[in-house]
Every structure is written in C-alpha cells, then in structure tokens.
C-alpha cells in the first residue's frame, strides 16, 4: 500500500484513542470526585470528538487519494492462550467509515447542543461521563474488525444508554425505564456473546474481514454452515433487541425519559441503528440461509407496519417520533434482509440526521403547531391531517386503534409469557427458602417478612 500505513496508523489511533482517552479522563475525574467546570468538560469532549472525526476523515482522504478500499488496524497485541484468542482489531472499509463518520458528526453536534442545553444541571458532569463512554462505545463498535471488539463497544453503548435514560434519577419512572432498556440490551448482549462464540467455533476467529471477503457463498462452502446459521440467528436476535424490532419495541418510547439530546442521538440516531449496522456488517452470514434472510425481511417489514400503525395513535411528540423512527428502522432491516448494501447505509445516514433534527426540535412543537394553526386555521388543520381527525367507530378501526394505543401489546405479551412466570417462580422459591431457613435455624417461621424490615 505504497507506504501510507504510518499515516493510516496515525489517523486510526487518533480516531480510536481520542474518545477512549476522553472516557478514561472523564471516568477518572468522576471516580476521584473532582468537580470539573462546565466549560472544561465541554471543551474536552468537543476537542476529542473533533480529533476522532478528523482521524476518520483523514483515513477517508487517504483511502480516496490512494485508492485503498479496506485496511485493518491492530492497536493491541492479540491475546492468545492455547485455543482461546481475543483479537482487538479495527477494520476500515466504506461501511465502517461512513457509519463512524455519521456517529462522530452527530456526537459532535450533540455535544455542542448539550453543552448549552445541560447548562447548570446538577448532573452535568455525570451526563458527559456517560456521553463519553457512549462515544467511545459507538466508535469501537462501528470500527471494530472482530466480533469481540464489537462486543466491547456494544456493551459500552448499552450501559451508557441505560444510565442516560435514567439520567433524572431522583424520579422513579426514568429508573424503571432505564432498567427496561437494560434488560433488553442484556438479552442482546447475551445473544451477541453466544454468536461470537459460534463464529469463533466455526471460523476459528472472528475477523469481519475474513467473513466479508469470503462472502456468503465462500462461507457456505468452507465451513459448517449450521453453526454459522445459528450464529446468524443469534446475531439477528442481538440486533433485533438493539434496534427495537418487533416484539422488543417496548423499550423505545420508554427510553424518552432522558434529556432531549440523548433521546435524539441514541434512540433517534445511533443506538437504534446499531443493530442494523451489525446486520449490515455481517450480512454474508445473514444471507447464508435464505430462510434467515427472509426472517429478517419479515421482521423488518412487520416492525415497520406495526410501528407505522402505532405511531398514528400517539399523542405526545416523542412517542410519535420514536415510532416514526422505528418504522424506518424496520424498513432498513428489511432492505438488509434483501441483501442490499448501499441503500440501507444511505438510508441509515439520511434517517439518522433527519430524526436527530426532529428530536432536537421536539420542544418547539407547540410553536410549530401554533404557527400552522395561525396560517391554516384550526378547522383546516384537522383537514390536512392525512387520515382525518374524525375518528372511525367501526369495529375494525376500533380494533386497529386500540392495537395502536396499546402499542401492539408487546410489553404485556413479554410480561405475560416471560417476565411474570419467571419472577413468580423465583418469588415462590424465595418464600420456600425463607421457610426452610427458619426451620433449619430453629427460629419461628417468619410471616413473609424478614427480620431486617422490622428492625
């Protein structure tokens, strides 16, 4: 590659290490309870995101000027121990570069936005600690060249998202909704972890480069495809959780508890598209089995349809936007399922920018509707709504409406079939434990109440 490696190395380390250094710095300051002034925090965050962005753009420039198409970068020595190896590699190609550019650009803008928006908020520093963890997570996830390193970024994104949803933590609702998000994300993490194992088992390593170069046909020939298909299913499960596909969509409107900029960047733009990005990255595996590919298409379209319906009945701006986002994500996933590559990427980029803008402007919707009202007239306004505000009362439209207002019943479904039996089972076990313990200890059997609450 005509001697541009040192430059590439330099830019790559800039792109990766400046957010990591930022996260480390912010975390250290936080752990040591050093209260940084707002201006310093904002400056540090903006500078390091800017550096990362500059690094990415530098690589893009080098790629374009030298006609390079892909390049792997390994900052750390690989950890090998007998059969176990943990490869921390970054891989630059048109997909990872464009997603990383999008992510860093939005992060940069949102950092600017939040700097003023969060001004004088007591949790200012905490916000930016989590924000920088998120930035480094998303950079690692989007640039990673192996499934292990993707997993690291994936988890960082998950943790910071959950804690940012619960940002206003003196209220109960944000914490409940943050927990909800965390539960779904942990399922996704577990799936991705198992997928990563299966990939390793099937291919001997988890390099994306190898997968991409072989393509689905190459993969089908060379290695045991049932294992790979299993991995594909798990990867789809992981990205379905992350991208809030049906039936996991319940967390998305709940995630609007955080401050507006986080709703914008996470659930309008980046987190929600991360699942799609993963599928796009590992598309050869998805395409390995037509059944799997069709499943992806099916769930994508189903999500788009369902959330398209649900969006119509929502009466608060953030839920409306959340379901509008989901409609597009569903379509994107379906596009990926069809085996397309460029279209979903363009779709992701366009959609993320558009939605971020709409989320940021959400608080101004009163002014927007008022000006609309003023120039169109109140009665006219209702006329311009596409389906008409005059509600239908036929049984079918009623059913559709209540489906929409109940948000498809997804949460209650998951609750009924998964959460509730599980929790009830362990509650019973716990009661049994208490009884058994008191019998063994010879204390009087407590009446459902452990001693410490009485104390």
């Amino acid at each position: 590659m005509n001697g541009i490696e040192p430059a590439l190395d330099f830019f790559a380390s800039m792109a990766i290490f400046s957010p990591l250094a930022l996260a480390l710095f912010m975390l250290l300051a936080f752990v040591f309870q050093i209260k940084l002034p707002e201006k310093i925090i904002a400056l540090v965050v903006e500078l390091s995101v800017f550096f990362a962005l500059a690094g990415i753009l530098g690589i893009v420039f080098l790629f374009l000027s030298n006609g390079v198409k892909k390049w792997g970068y390994e900052p750390f020595p690989t950890f090998h121990l007998e059969s176990f190896h943990f490869d921390f590699q970054f891989y630059f190609d048109w997909l990872s570069l464009s997603f990383a550019t999008l992510a860093l650009l939005l992060c940069f803008v949102i950092a600017f936005f939040s700097q003023r928006y969060m001004h004088r908020e007591p949790g200012y520093q905490r916000f930016f600690v989590l924000y920088s963890i998120f930035v480094s997570g998303i950079v690692i996830a989007s640039l990673s060249g192996t499934i292990e390193s993707l997993f690291v970024g994936w988890e960082m994104v998950g943790l910071s998202s959950a804690l940012l949803v619960a940002f206003f933590h003196e209220r109960v609702m944000p914490t409940r909704n943050g927990l909800h998000l965390w539960i779904v994300y942990r399922i996704s993490d577990a799936a991705l972890f198992l997928a990563s194992y299966l990939l390793h088992h099937a291919l001997g390593q988890g390099f994306f480069q190898a997968i991409l170069e072989q393509g689905s046909e190459g993969l089908a020939h060379e290695v045991s495809s049932p294992v790979l298909i299993g991995a594909g299913v798990l990867i789809f499960l992981a990205s379905a959780c992350k991208s809030a596909l049906f039936p996991f969509s319940g967390w998305l409107p709940r995630a609007m508890e955080g401050p507006t900029p986080t709703s914008a960047i996470f659930y309008g733009a980046l987190s929600i598209h991360l699942g799609a990005f993963l599928l796009l990255r590992l598309n050869p595996i998805v395409q390995l089995s037509p059944i799997l590919a069709w499943t992806v298409v099916f769930f994508g379209l189903l999500t788009a349809l369902v959330s398209g319906i649900i969006a119509n009945a929502q009466a608060d701006i953030k839920s409306i936007l959340a379901y509008a986002t989901l409609t597009q994500v569903g379509i994107i996933i379906a596009e990926i399922g069809f085996g397309l590559e460029l279209l979903p990427l363009i779709h992701i980029i366009g959609h993320a920018s558009l939605r971020t803008y709409q989320f940021l402007r959400a608080p101004s919707s009163f002014a927007y509707y008022k000006s609309l009202e003023e120039s169109l007239g109140r009665t006219d306004l209702n006329k311009y709504a596409p389906k008409g505000r005059v509600a239908q009362t036929g049984p079918l439209s009623l059913a559709i409406y209540s489906f929409a207002l109940n948000r498809g019943g997804m949460d209650s479904m998951l609750e009924k079939f998964i959460t509730k039996p599980f929790v009830q089972m362990f509650k019973l076990a716990d009661i049994f434990e208490k009884k058994w313990g008191s019998i063994l200890a010879g204390t009087e059997p407590s009446k459902l109440k452990t001693p410490e609450e009485r104390a």
Binding site: A315, I331, F366, G377, T393, L428
Partner: protein, 976 residues
Amino acid sequence: MTFHSHTNSSHHPENKLEHLAEIISHAAHLLPAQGPITTFVHHNPLHLFESKPFHESLLEADRIFGSQMYLSEERYHEELEKGRILFSDIEEILKSELGSKANEIIIGKSTRFEIQSSMLRNLPFAATEKEAQWFIANSKRLYKIIHPESSADKKNLNQILEYCLKNTENVALKTEHHAPARFRELLLEVTGQDPDLLVNELLVRFSSSFLDQGFAIWGLPNRDAGFIAAFKSFCQSNPSLMGSWARTLPDYFKNLHQEKNSALELILESLEILGVPQENWEPFLIQSLLAIRGWAGMIWQIEVRPDKVPLPVSPGTLTQFLAIRLLLDRLAMKKIIKEFSFRKTSSNDLKHELASLKNHSEVKQDHTALGLEVFCVAMDLGWEKQIPDFTPDDWAKVLFEIETFSQLDQRKIFHLAYEKHLYRQVLDSIITLEQKKETKPFMFQAVFCIDEREESFRRHLEEVDPSFETYGAAGFFNVPMYFKATLDSFYTPLCPIIITPSNWVEELPEEEFLKAYKTRASGMKTIQMASHQLHLGSRGGALGALLSATFGTLVAIPLAMTVLFPRLTAKIRRYLTPFLRKKVETKLKLERFSEKAGPTGNQVGFSLQEMAAMGERFLRDIGLTRSFCRLVFIFGHGSTSINNPHQSAYDCGACGGSPGGANARALAQILNDKRVRSILQNNGIDIPEDTYFVGGLSNTSINHVSFFDKDLMPSIHHHDFEKAKISLREACMRNAHERCRRFQSASLDISLEEAQRHVEGRAEDLAQPRPELGHATNAICIVGRRERTRGIYMDRRAFLVSYDPTQDNQNNDILNRILNAAMPVCSGINLEFFFSQVDPTGWGCGTKLPHNPTSYLGVMDGAASDLRTGLPWQVVEIHEAVRLLFIIESTPEIMRKILERCPPLANLCYNHWINLVLLDPESSQASILTGKEFVPYEFSGTPAPKAKSSIDWYRGKRNHLGYPHISNAMNAGVNV
C-alpha cells in the same frame, strides 16, 4: 383508618350520590388550574386557600398535597450562613410570634424562647436510629452547636443520645400521624409493588389521547360519547393487548349503562369494594384525583372553559375520569395482592385482602427524630449535666415544647426572617429617597407595562436621557379586545384572563399592499401546508423512507448549522424567506360603524364613545392628565424564543399570555384621534394639538423596541422621534447588559454590544433552555408616582404601577380600579414563582430538559408521566421565594375602605398572601400591615447605598443586589 365498611343504612343511595358529586366538585378545585400551555397564565396554585391566612393555609395544604410549602431548613441555613438571613431577625420574629409566652421558663434556666431559638440554630433531621448515630459520630455540624462550656466530649455524646432516645421512645407523639388516605402506600410497603405505576401508565396514555387537540393523527374513537364510553370501547375491542392486570376490564363494563349517574355509581361501587368508610370518602377521592393531578386538572379546566380549546370535553368528564381511575386501581391492587399471596382474589374480597395486608404492615412511629432534636437542644443549651436527673414530668414538658414547635413552624420563622431582610432594604431605600422639589419639564413620555422586566428598561432610559418621563400601566393598556393579525385565521383575546372582551379588532393590509399581502398569505399557506405534509410524510413509512434516503443526509447541514452557529443560521433563515421580507404595511380596523360589536365585517372595532372612554380611563389611571409632551410612547411587550414550550409564560400576562403590541398600537391610534381628543377635552383632559402618541412593542428577550404606524406620524415630530429612538436603543442595550449579569454563560465583563448580541443569540438558540429568565426575582410591587422611586435601583424585581394619589377622586375609584387589576395579577405571578421555587417538582414542572409536548396541551416528563404544571426549574432557579411586597402610595383609611369594597383583595392583604405597605403621599412615612393593623415602619438606620449609575452598581456581580440610589437616574427633566 379502619377497613370495615359500615354502609350507613340511613343514607339513601341518591343522597350518597349527591354527596359524592359534592365531594368531587370540591376536590376539582384543588387540582392545578393551568389551562393549555400555549396561553400560559400565571396564577396562585393555592388560590382556593386565599380566604385563609397564609401560614394556616400552608399547614392545611401540606397535608393535602404532599408538596413542600416553604424552602427546606437546610436551604434556610445556607442563607443564614450567607448573611441573607440574619439571626437577629429570626430572634426578633420569634419574640414577636411568642409574645408573652417567650420568657416562660420551661426547665432549669431555659426559657421557651431559648429552646425555640436553639432549635432554629441547630439542624437536626428526621432520621432512623442508625442515622442518628452516624450523625453524632461524623457530623461536623453537630460540633458547631455544642455549647462552648460543655463538658461533653465525643465519647459520652452517644450516651446522652441514647438517653434522649430512650426517654422519647415511649411518648405518644402529639403530632398526629396521618394515615395515607389511599391503599397505595400500604401495598407499596408490604409488597414492594406500586399499583399507581400500572394504573397511571394506562390512564396517562388514554387521557392524552382523549384530550388530544391535534398532535395525534388518529382521533380517539367514540371520544364524543364521553370518557367512560370511549374507554369502554377502547378496552372491549382488544382486551388481550392490555397488561394482564387489566384484561378483565370488559367484564366490569358489561353491567354499566350509559345513564346519567353511571359514573357516580361506578365510584360508589369502587368505594364499597375497597371498603372505604363514608367519613373517609373525601380524603380518599381527593387523593385519588391528585394521584395524577396534572391530567385531572387539565380535564377539569377544559370542562369548565371549553372555549379555550378546539376540542372541548363534555361536563362530568372529571367524574368519569375518577370512576375509571378507581376501577383501574381496584384491578391493579387485585393483581398485586394475587401475585403477592399466590392465590386468587375475587373482586369482592378486596377489602378483606387489604385488611389482611394491614397485618403485614409494620409502620410504627419513629421517635428518633424527636430524640435527636432533644439531644441537639440539650447540647446547645448545656443540659448534658442535668439530663440524667430529669424527672418524667420534666421530660414531658421538654418534649411537649419541642414537639409543638413543628418543622413547618420553624420554617415559617425562617421564612419571615428571609422576607424581612429584603423588605427592610427596599423600604429603607424608598423612604430615604430625597424628593426633588423643583420640577423641570420633560421632552418625552413613555408608558410601559407594569412588568418588572421593564423596570430596568425604564431606569436605564431615565439614566440615558433624563428628559424621559416614564409610566407603568397593565400591558393591555385598558383596551380589552379580541385581535386578529393579518396572517392569523382567528381571534385571540388580548386582555387579562378575568376580563371577557366585547370588541373585536382586525389588522388589515393597506390598500396598496393588498396584492403583496395576498401573495404573502397564500405563500405562507402553501409553505406551511407543504412543510406540514413533508413533516408528516417523514414520519410515515414509504414517504419517510424516500425522504430520509434522499434528502435525509442534507438535513445534517441545517442540523449542524443551527446547533453550531445559531445566530448566523437565524440570519440566513430570515434572508431566505422572501415572503417575510417583503414589507406589508398594515392598519388596524379600530372603529366600528354598526351598532353591535362582532367578529365580522362592520361589527369589528369600537365605537367612538367606547374609544374615548377607554382612552380617558387609561390616562386618568396613570395620572397623565396634564403637561403632555410632544411625543408619548406606549410600549406593549412580548418575547421571542425557540424550542420553548413555555414561551407563552414570557409574554404579557395582562394580555392573556400574548404579546401586547396590538394594544399599544390601538391605544396610540385612539388617543391620536381628533374626535377622541375633543371628547376628552370636554371631560377635562386637554391633549395639546402637537402631542403625538406612538405605539410600540418592546421585546423582553432580545431587548429590541419597534414602533407602529410610523408613516402616520406628522413630519414635525420626526426630529424628536429620531432623538428619542437613539435614547431608546441605548437604553435597550444597557438593559440587555444588565440582564446578562444573571446569565452564567455571559461573562461578567461583557461589553454593551456583546451583551446585545448575547441576548439575541439566546432567543435564537435551539439548545437554550433559558431564553430569558421571565419574571424570576419579582418581589415588590409599587403603586404610586414615579417620583417616589425614580433613581432607585430596583434590580428588575419591582412591578411599577403608575398612580397619582393627588388626582384620585373622593371614592378613590382609580386606586380601586388599579388594585383590582394589579393585585391579583401580580400576586398570581409572584405566588406561582414562590411555590415553583419552593418545590420545583411538586408545584413547578421540574427541569425542562426531559419535557415532552403532549396533546397540544402541556408537557410530560419523558415518556408517560403526569402532565406537568407550574414553572420549570430553569425559570425559577434564581428566584427568591418571598411574598410580594405591595407598596402603595396611599393612607390606611383609604386602603381600609378599598379593601372593604373588595373581599378578594381583602383576602389577599389581610391573610398576608401579599405583604402590604402604605407610603404616605405627603411624607416619607410608611406603615406596614401587621395582622390587621397598619403599624408605622421604622427606619432601620442603615442608609441606602449610593452609586453613580446602574452599571457601576451591578457590574461584576451575579446575585441579588441591594437597592441603592442611582445619582444619574435622579436628574429628571431637561434644563431649559
């Protein structure tokens, strides 16, 4: 509370239902009274309590609402440390509150006064025993209060504490423990599950759809049939999709007929099933309504004022809402109990189940807080030697003393001291202001709204140009009207919310601009329609995909631009909107030719008589009846900001939360009318031929002034007008500069020009949660001549109402009129800020950052919460929670008479929702309304500070400042 329901057989069911209806209509008045947020009107959240004394109401409201009533003790202690509260003030207030009881000896040598002031000095807290031990072992605070001669060292502190705890353990607490009226607390304690979480989520989602005024694309089916009917059809059509707890809902509706009383019957049924005894109905229902008070209050508001919204609800909706709420409560409780005890509960068992849960509950009275309080007092007063020898009698006495001086009582004392310090500074400054004897003529007069944000503008104007005389009048300028601007499609009321206007005024384009106007109007319409369709499209599926895949990426450009360079983007946007740039001259259609007033055709406008009457009343109110200058400016005010749901709270309160420019313009036009002037002349107000009135609008967020109908101004005024404009612009800039000292993000050494740019940038910044600080810091209202205050730096904290007592008639009709408008409005603003600052999440709407616009009515926190009413934290952040100090230039006799005539005002004054001070019109004497008597105010002896100019005084400081005399602003008039 008992859980056995004894249905009283002596009551007929009808009586019961009536009783219920009565309770509900009473409870409805406790709900927040905020209407749609787009016309935000400030009001006292405890309006219902105004007929009772302030402190007593707070005690009562404390039990009902569960929100804070005063600032926290901790906060007061901080202020004490800062010197904002003086301990000497506290002691003085305590003495006067205790009166003769102050010096009663309670124990040893300690008097009641000593005990209470010791309790105020130290800072114990409600704690568990562990927490108390931790406090003693680790708190530095404790060592501050230990008596200096105390022999106790750290070691036996614990023994003393133990002693105190032991002796308080067995005392029955006098302060009654209020059992919660609902069952939620019990369930939460025993099972750890909160039924409200389940119920509220569903109810909030449904209510927001039910009340939606246009955000959702689909309307709620069967909405017109009422809340219950709509809910019924909603849950019958697809019960399997609801949470498992609510799946049985359709069964409950089977027997329910749509009769008139069905909602009440449903409530009655719920009360019986839950086993709420009749004497507990009221608190139970009140608390059930208050559980999501924002939504309930909004339903009530729309129910009683259906004219405020396009899609009103029918009467009785609140009752239906309550009925559904109780039904859902029942189901949620049943589910939780079932899961807790692993067995089924039939619906009628619920009260037994709840009663049996009660056995699991072990809430007991915790005496530790009291014990700790005794301990702290003992350490402070040096009792540690005697304490082991206290007899049971002594203990009883001490405990009684300490317990009866409750936390709210303590905070009341703090609060009074907090206010007293401020009031003293203001009053000292006013009564020591030297009165100018000789008067010099003025060149200009300017009338502003009484808004305290205009105080600094007026002061700077007087400083910049001493030839300005300024007046303050309520910002609708006595022209109540429905107004429709050229591009509007409907009328907006421009007057205080309590007045219903009877005239309509329209803004029309001038003949020669008609064509331009038409293109502009249709252009606007097309743009709006197209952008709305695009917006909706971007949210949909297919079109959304198309849009986001093609143009989505381009949105990144405006996104980055607006966030990174807000001012530049705003400029570009203005430049790119040709329709807005093409100038269209307009006129007001002000005069009516037909008999009857109405919104269309010839009915639009006022008759000549009406105009003259309004004009005369206005001039008499502010006392401008002679020595008119050649130019008289009248400024309404408004505010612009983006991305701000509470924008309307920054506009003119006297114009019902809209900008007041049109009123100023109308008034100027009225007073310039020759026929009006001749009528006025007959009535004794002689406006010289060459006096010209100019209407204008002052923008409080970007500090700009603009003028209306400049083209109609006679050319002889042009020179003066240009001169005045220069002064006004300069004053605007200085005003912006003074405002900037409050913004952390503006540096303290900012220059005048930078300050102007800074405030402009704020208003155009998408990311700015504080475009301006609104009415924050308001504390004073002065009704009187400007001479009495001209030259005092009021720190943007004073509403200034012009009133000339020498021109008032025998009946004091003018003062009466003024107070009737100003007192409720100003106290409403002040008390809204007061409570929103005292409890930002209880009374205010919390922080703005997670707000989510809902139903085109209000904001929620995040995804699904109660509708948040009140003011956001960002607005009240720098406010000081003090009651408004009304300073009126009048005498006690006159005041008494006026208050006699107006019971609402008497309530406000005598119950001390505001504090009233009278300033003698002839001397510098002041008297304070204390209890129900006017007591002369004594000058504290510290002269007011002096400064050369406002900027000298405030430069480099962020916090609240005193009230100095500004020598620059004292020069009034021009030297001839």
